[in-house]
């Protein structure tokens, strides 16, 4: 009896060993990846939020016509080629044939027209990118024409984060209308997804974990390495817990590495840390347009409407100290909210204002606030590198010139809602802005244009300048690049003078991962897993 059971145990062990061997040898070509971030995607509705981590998850499941890769190059994705036709206001896109959505439906021109029109709806957060579109029309099943309001040389740049949905699926599931995120609305597409991407949604628990499996029918099989077989996308808000998970081997890849832990991670055997600049600037927004601040003790007037107050704030922020202490060297102090990657950026614009507390106090006194005033600073605590630390430092710097700041730090979901609400519910806030089009127009359109209809969606400052709005709109239809760049420079001169936002720094990124993965930092901070090979 005894020997028989021992024999059984041995056999079981042998089987187990074989299984383990099979799994291990299998992992040579594909491996699962557990991926931890500080904050989750806000929604799965592909057009409801124009926000970094949301795009990051979207890009795994859905695909745009054209993709921008890590090096900034435009890569044909669902469109195989594109060109401006003889009529410069008409762009022709040839679509990839034989592509299937995850539910098996075929991808064709109807889906493109549907998706672009959906993205133009009032509740869409992507509409600001598409203001140039007049009409989208179908030529045949695999050819689409986009008619623009004026000649626009940058049409492809605006399409890299515009995901293609399945028209039939959307209609069948009653999700033709984009989710109204800031009013906390819900729809089928918020929790379910049906894209053409390399990964399919298996399960999702908002703010906890999202599981994706590799799409075995992916059109790009053979073309891309696709070395990751399964993705478990985890939200771990606490810095220490996220890093502990990587150190203990529980996760394979941490995208948001707290700057204070970089040194330790680099020294740890079996881990790798990759660095790079992000195409993103962190800045403070000021409510310049309201007659009175909601959170201030000053009644009947708005201190931030006075340019001298804004200049005083600008002078009191010690960006070098933030870089050295809060960011531990991982930032590039900034004088303008355009990252260096962007067309229109100049060193001249990015010159740092001198830290001068004397003059800042003098300016406040001149503006009639010799005793300072109170205001609430709204800050996210799970979005940007050390965002809450930056806000605390700013709070102390403001105290030095007599501005008493009440700091309210909260997760990015409620924080962004404060800015996007109409009218905005914040007087003073921290925001970071990335520029996927690599062009200043994107910044002008979302952050400076008067909030109206399609534009100014993220302009929480209530800044309104009709003359400037006209110049911004003229950019969308200017074909002469030299003239266009002159207008951009002109707009930046006006804005630099007006000091609507207080630029803090251009963000640097660090990704930490197990040594057998090699994920390079992308300037958009979007990791396209299909490019990753298993070792």
């Amino acid at each position: 009896m005894a020997s028989q059971s021992i024999g059984k145990a041995a056999a079981a062990r042998l089987v187990l060993a074989l299984v383990v061997l099979a799994v291990v040898s299998g992992s040579a070509e594909a491996r699962p990846v557990k991926w931890a971030r500080s904050g989750d995607a806000l929604t799965l509705d592909p057009h409801a939020q124009n926000e970094g981590p949301t795009h990051n998850l979207m890009h795994l499941i859905y695909e745009p016509l054209i993709l921008r890769d890590r090096t900034g190059k435009l890569v044909p994705t669902l469109a195989t080629s594109w060109r401006a036709t003889e009529d410069p206001t008409v762009w022709e896109f040839k679509l990839r044939q034989g592509v299937k959505f995850h539910n098996g439906n075929a991808f064709n021109a109807d889906d493109v027209i549907f998706s672009l029109e959906r993205a133009l709806q009032p509740t869409s957060d992507m509409k600001g990118l598409l203001t140039f579109i007049e009409k989208v029309s179908k030529i045949d099943d695999y050819t689409v024409h986009i008619k623009t309001k004026g000649p626009n040389p940058l049409v492809p740049n605006y399409l890299t984060n515009l995901y293609m949905m399945d028209k039939q699926w959307a209609e069948a599931n009653n999700t033709v209308t984009v989710q109204d995120y800031k009013e906390k609305k819900d729809n089928f597409a918020v929790r379910n997804a049906n894209g053409t991407g390399a990964y399919m949604l298996v399960s999702r628990e908002q703010d906890v974990r999202t599981v994706l499996a590799r799409n075995e029918d992916y059109w790009g099989k053979g073309e891309y390495p696709l070395g990751v077989s399964e993705i478990t996308y985890l939200t771990i808000k606490s810095d220490a817990t996220r890093i502990a998970a990587l150190l203990s081997g529980e996760v394979d890849f941490v995208q948001d590495v707290p700057v204070q832990d970089i040194e330790r991670l680099e020294k740890t055997a079996g881990l790798r840390v990759n660095f790079g600049p992000e195409n993103r600037t962190i800045f403070l927004g000021l409510n310049v347009g309201a007659p009175e601040l909601q959170s201030s003790n000053v009644k009947g007037k708005n201190p931030f409407a006075d340019k001298r107050v804004r200049q005083a704030v600008n002078m009191a922020v010690d960006r070098e100290a933030i870089k050295r202490v809060v960011m531990r060297g991982q930032s590039i102090p900034a004088g303008v909210i355009a990252p260096p990657f962007v067309n229109g950026y100049t060193k001249e614009l990015d010159r740092l204002p001198k830290v001068d507390l004397e003059q800042a106090r003098a300016l406040l006194k001149e503006a009639g606030y010799a005793d300072g005033f109170q205001v609430t600073l709204n800050c996210p605590n799970d979005r940007y590198v050390n965002d809450e630390g930056i806000c605390q430092a700013v709070t102390a710097m403001m105290a030095k010139i007599g501005i008493k700041v009440n700091l309210v730090a909260q997760p990015k979901g409620p924080h962004f809602t404060l800015i996007q609400k109409d009218p905005p519910e914040t007087d003073f806030y921290l925001l970071g802005w990335g520029v996927p089009t690599y062009d200043s127009h994107y910044i002008f359109s979302f952050l400076y244009h008067t909030r109206s209809g399609k534009e100014g969606g993220w302009n929480g400052t209530r800044y309104a300048n009709a003359g400037l709005d006209r110049k911004i709109e003229s950019l969308a239809a200017e074909i002469d690049l030299a003239k266009r760049n002159a207008t951009i420079a002109d707009i930046w001169t006006t804005l630099s003078e007006a000091t609507i936002y207080i630029a803090l720094h251009h963000q640097m990124l660090a990704y930490a991962m197990k040594r057998d993965l090699d994920i390079q930092v992308s300037p958009e901070n979007v990791v396209h897993m299909k490019f990753i090979a298993a070792k």
Binding site: A240, Q260, Q392, A396, A399
Partner: protein, 334 residues
């Protein structure tokens, strides 16, 4: 007053032995004799007999004293943002390499002196702890007396609410009240608003224990002769409850209050650690531990170690005192 007294009316004798009793009138002579009685009492004897309890008392007194003298003895004012310099941030304790003697226990990530912040933070934690215990005991006492004395539907109603609340962990109730209060007060940033909300949240989540204990004692007391006598000579129910029964239930309430003080301090620290407590610009011990926790892996151990140690020490000392008080006042253990 001795244990040899009839053990049945245990609570009254225990309560009479406890020092902070409401004293009615009394002249110097009476006071002296009470002092003498106290010096000769079981309570003091049992206190002095246990070295651990004496040590706990000394530690509590030291921490509480230091905390309330914070504005006088702290080397820096951590709440004065003007005095902070980011360039002093992350300084290790004075005896470590790179330490600065003016920051004995080092600084946090914003350049605050850890020692001063601990002193001020303990003060906030204690203030919130004491206020919320007062709130909880006042509420629990009144409801317990009412339920026990009146009985009937009132009793059933109050006790069922208590039962329902008991099924939730106190921290959940506190989180809920905190969240609701914050949502209501979203646009009114009042000075000290966060303080009152925390006191309310913690106070409302700890009243049940008082209410149940007080009700139990009241049920026994209300059938005693002295209560009946009081009722017969026409004294109103409110007066009977608060003047005649209340002194006899104070003993157990005192014990619960002491033990709950430690619990309330820890709850405040937990709420702050979760980021819904005191703001990072006015750190309590919990907030400090939350901030320090981020730096656990980067070598800045002092940011979390010192506030954590202080919290543990304070909670332990107060708990030991509470345990001793419970044993000393329990006639069955004597």
């Amino acid at each position: 007053m001795r244990a040899a007294d009839s053990p049945a009316p245990a609570q009254p004798s225990a309560a009479a032995a406890a020092p902070p009793l409401p004293q009615r009138g009394g002249n110097a002579g009476a006071r002296r004799s009470r002092l003498a009685a106290f010096l000769d009492s079981d309570l003091l004897h049992s206190f002095l007999r246990s070295k651990l309890v004496v040590l706990a008392a000394l530690v509590s007194v030291a921490i509480v004293g230091a905390a309330f003298l914070a504005p006088v003895i702290a080397p820096h004012d951590p709440y004065d943002l003007k005095s902070l310099s980011l360039l002093d941030a992350n300084t290790p304790p004075a005896w470590e390499k790179g330490g600065d003697p003016s920051y004995l226990l080092g600084t946090d990530d914003q350049g605050r002196d850890i020692l001063s912040t601990i002193l001020y933070g303990t003060r906030s934690s204690l203030q919130i702890g004491i206020c919320s215990v007062l709130l909880a005991s006042a509420l629990g006492l009144s409801l317990g007396l009412w339920a026990g004395y009146v009985g009937g539907r009132v009793d059933t109603f109050i006790m069922r609410i208590a039962d329902v609340q008991l099924t939730f962990p106190a921290i959940l109730t506190a989180l809920l009240i905190d969240g609701v209060a914050l949502a209501i007060l979203k646009h009114h940033t009042i000075e000290g608003g966060k303080f009152s909300i925390l006191v309310l949240a913690i106070g409302l989540s700890f009243w049940v224990q008082y209410a149940r204990t007080v009700r139990g004692v009241t049920l026994v007391e209300r059938n005693k002769e002295y209560v009946e006598a009081a009722r017969l000579i026409g004294i109103g129910p409110l007066k009977i409850m608060f003047q005649h029964i209340l002194p006899n239930v104070l003993g157990p309430v005192l014990v619960i209050a002491t033990i709950n003080l430690a619990l309330a301090i820890i709850t405040e620290a937990t709420l702050s650690f979760l980021g819904v407590g005191l703001p990072p610009t006015e750190p309590s011990l919990g907030t400090m531990i939350q901030v320090g926790n981020k730096y656990l892996f980067s070598g800045s151990w002092w940011m979390v170690a010192f506030p954590g140690f202080t919290l543990a020490l304070l909670a332990l000392a107060v708990n030991l005192l509470g345990d001793w008080l419970r044993d000393a006042l329990n006639p069955k253990l004597r």
